[in-house]
Amino acid sequence: MSVIWQQRTHGIQRRKQQSAMLLARLFVVAIIIATTMAAAYLALVAANVHAASRVWTMEQTLSEMYRQNHALWIEIARASSIPVLQERSVQLGYQPAHSVDFLQIGEP
């Protein structure tokens, strides 16, 4: 015969039993609240870690893009440097202008 059964059958005061039940419920509620808060905290931390990871990746990507951008600058500069342009101009048949005449247009 269990203790509880004995308490019930042997006339333990009902008020005492009710307070124990209340305590138990409070305990359960506290655990639920704590679990929810812990879950929320963990979710926040996880989101934080994810965001931080993305920030770090983006910062690295930015650095890489700087490098690609500057590599392109140099590629363009090489293709349009003065010796290259001169060579291409000559290939296209251009010649240095030895005399330049300005067309003077009078005021209307």
């Binding site: 934080n48 930015l62 650095s63 490098r67 590599a71 500069a77 005449d101």
Partner: protein, 580 residues
């Protein structure tokens, strides 16, 4: 034997409490009593310095946006030598990639015996190209480290080398880059904190600490690379033609103070500065246009004239009798031709380049106080504030100096006994071209910050040494003087104003007997000048002595350069063309 449920219940309670106390006790031992020790151990285990790749330096563009100095992405190669398994094979493989002897590499890759078992990192090569880095990555060796970095890239080679300059690893250098280092160099932030196994900072680190590096500020210059390339070509031709040892050509806009091109010889290749330094050629790094003063000679007479007119001590009608000689301060001043020219006026002093006339103006008309007051106003004896390292202020002797001699007043009037830089001279003469107002000479047109802000450098007047009327009068005399030499200095459609000079080169106790510095400074189109050009040829010793004058050496170069520059700048002619 336990009896009854109450006893068993109490026993379980006691056991649970004891277990709880044990856990709490352990926690206190580990986290409170042993905190310091464990914290240190953890820090040593996971705390590392971390950073993002080094940000690029600011690039340098010409006035039209063409790249002059950029950044080439490269890598520094290193190795954790304690992890290398086969040093011989590794060295043999890396040798052709890193352009180093295999024997050297093998030595570097062999870990020191004393450090066996510990992590040892050693650099293998610096600034290897992207292609080489890709080949090294393909090897798949985990002990190789490739650190991204940059190498300065000079898009036009040695073009404008003195102006652009360079900066070495220690942050020292020459030219614009050294002067603007704090703008050009980006900010590379590194932090120390807990990192993951991939050496990435943990989340709290990323959130709490800002390590995003920001690139340097880009600079857009006032230089025009086409004009720059043209004047460098002309200077090279001139030096070869005259057998000269060096020279300078400077092109600026007198209305704004913008320097459009500035070239000097001998020059150097900025990307090879370590080789030049190793060869003891550091003198090449100094910009002759801004850092090396010289005695300007007769071109200085236009400033003496301007001072005399502006001070009111002489008028445009002033004249004197030139007997070919002036004694002052214990010396005798002669004209360059040693001749006497009789009654002369201001125009005669410029067109015939009369030393005696210039000395008369400084000694008898103005006096030392007025003359040097004007020289000061023209900026001599002071730096111009150009954005390059090591600008010289020149050398002007003043009556208050301990080594002053009265003869300086006579000789300074025609550019002897005084040392100025080409830049100082150009800035001073630009006042004559710009209604008496001296503009701040500058080579930076705009600063573009990495956050998108852009700051334009606006033209800035720095002083007005002479009135507009004086400036016009002097410029007109210079123009008439050029008109007189129409054969050698004609550019159809453009009226020029200028003055030539042939200066002796001072040496210990006197002047070199045969060597000279020939020069010409002028502007066009008068009366609305848009371009001022200074040509200076050092020691044109490859031609006969009688032909070393500025008129025969610097003038033809000036004419060719001016003829091309007005076209490149789109300056229309201001005179009716006579050519059919």
């Amino acid at each position: 034997m336990l009896r009854g449920p109450d006893v068993r219940l109490r026993l379980i309670t006691v056991l649970l409490i004891a277990t709880l106390l044990l856990i709490v006790g352990q926690l206190v031992r580990l986290q409170v009593l042993g905190h310091a020790q464990h914290h240190t151990e953890t820090e040593a285990l996971v705390h590392r310095q971390y950073a993002l790749p080094e940000p690029p330096w600011g690039i340098i563009l010409d006035r039209n946006g063409n790249l002059l100095v950029g950044n080439l992405p490269v890598y520094n190669v290193g190795a954790e030598v304690n992890l290398v398994t086969d040093t011989v094979m590794s060295a043999m493989t890396l040798a052709p990639l890193l352009n180093r002897p295999a024997k050297d590499l093998q030595e570097v890759l062999t870990p020191p015996i004393t450090d066996a078992g510990t992590s040892v990192w050693r650099p293998l090569a610096n600034e290897v190209s992207e292609e080489t880095a890709a080949k090294i990555r393909e090897l798949g060796w985990f002990w190789i480290t490739l650190t991204p970095t940059w190498q300065r890239f000079y898009a036009e080679g040695a073009l404008a080398s003195h102006t652009l300059g360079f900066v070495n690893k220690e942050g020292l250098g020459y030219g614009l880059q050294a002067f603007q280092l704090r703008f050009l160099r980006g900010n590379n932030l590194s932090q120390t904190g807990p990192v993951s196994v991939q050496s990435s900072p943990l989340a709290d680190e990323v959130v709490a600490k800002d390590i995003l590096p920001y690139p340097g500020t880009d600079l857009r210059l006032t230089l025009d690379r086409t004009i720059q390339a043209y004047i460098e070509g002309e200077l090279d031709i001139a030096l070869q033609e005259y057998g000269a040892s060096g020279g300078t050509i400077l092109v600026l806009n007198p209305r704004t103070g913008e320097i459009l091109a500035i070239a000097s010889r001998p020059n150097y290749e900025p990307y090879r500065y370590p080789d030049h330094a190793a060869a003891g050629e550091e003198a090449l790094f100094l910009d002759p246009a801004a850092s090396v003063p010289y005695e300007p000679g007769s071109v200085f007479k236009v400033l003496t004239l301007a001072a005399a007119l502006d001070s009111g001590r002489a008028t445009t009608d002033w004249s004197y009798y030139d007997n070919g000689k002036l004694e002052y301060g214990g010396i005798k001043v002669y004209n360059a031709s040693r001749g006497a020219y009789g009654q002369q006026n201001l125009f005669g002093i410029i067109s015939e380049s009369l030393n005696v006339g210039a000395s008369v103006l400084s000694t008898q008309v103005m006096g030392a106080e007025v003359f040097y007051q004007y020289l000061r106003a023209f900026g001599f004896g002071q730096t111009t504030g150009i954005e390059v390292v090591g600008e010289s202020s020149g050398l002007v002797h003043l009556p208050s100096d301990w080594n002053w001699s009265d003869s300086y007043l006579a000789t300074n009037a025609f550019g002897q006994g005084i040392a100025v830089t080409p830049l100082q001279l150009a800035a001073a003469v630009s006042a004559i071209a710009n209604d008496g107002v001296m503009m701040q000479p500058h080579i930076i047109a705009e600063r573009r910050h990495s956050d998108g802000r852009s700051v334009a450098v606006l033209p800035k007047p720095i002083s007005q040494p002479i009135s507009a009327e004086t400036a016009h009068a002097v410029a007109e005399i210079m123009a008439q003087s050029v008109d007189k030499k129409s054969d050698s200095l004609e550019i159809p459609g453009y009226r020029l104003a200028g003055k030539s000079g042939t200066a002796q080169i001072p040496t210990t106790g006197g002047y070199e007997p045969d060597s000279v510095i020939a020069s010409f400074i002028g502007f066009a189109p008068w009366p609305d000048p848009q371009v001022l050009i200074l040509v200076k040829i050092d020691r044109p010793d490859g031609i006969p002595l009688a032909q070393r004058w500025g008129e025969y050496t610097a003038v033809p170069v000036f004419r060719r350069v001016m003829e091309r520059v007005v076209v490149l700048m789109g300056v229309p002619p201001n005179e009716t063309l006579t050519r059919q």
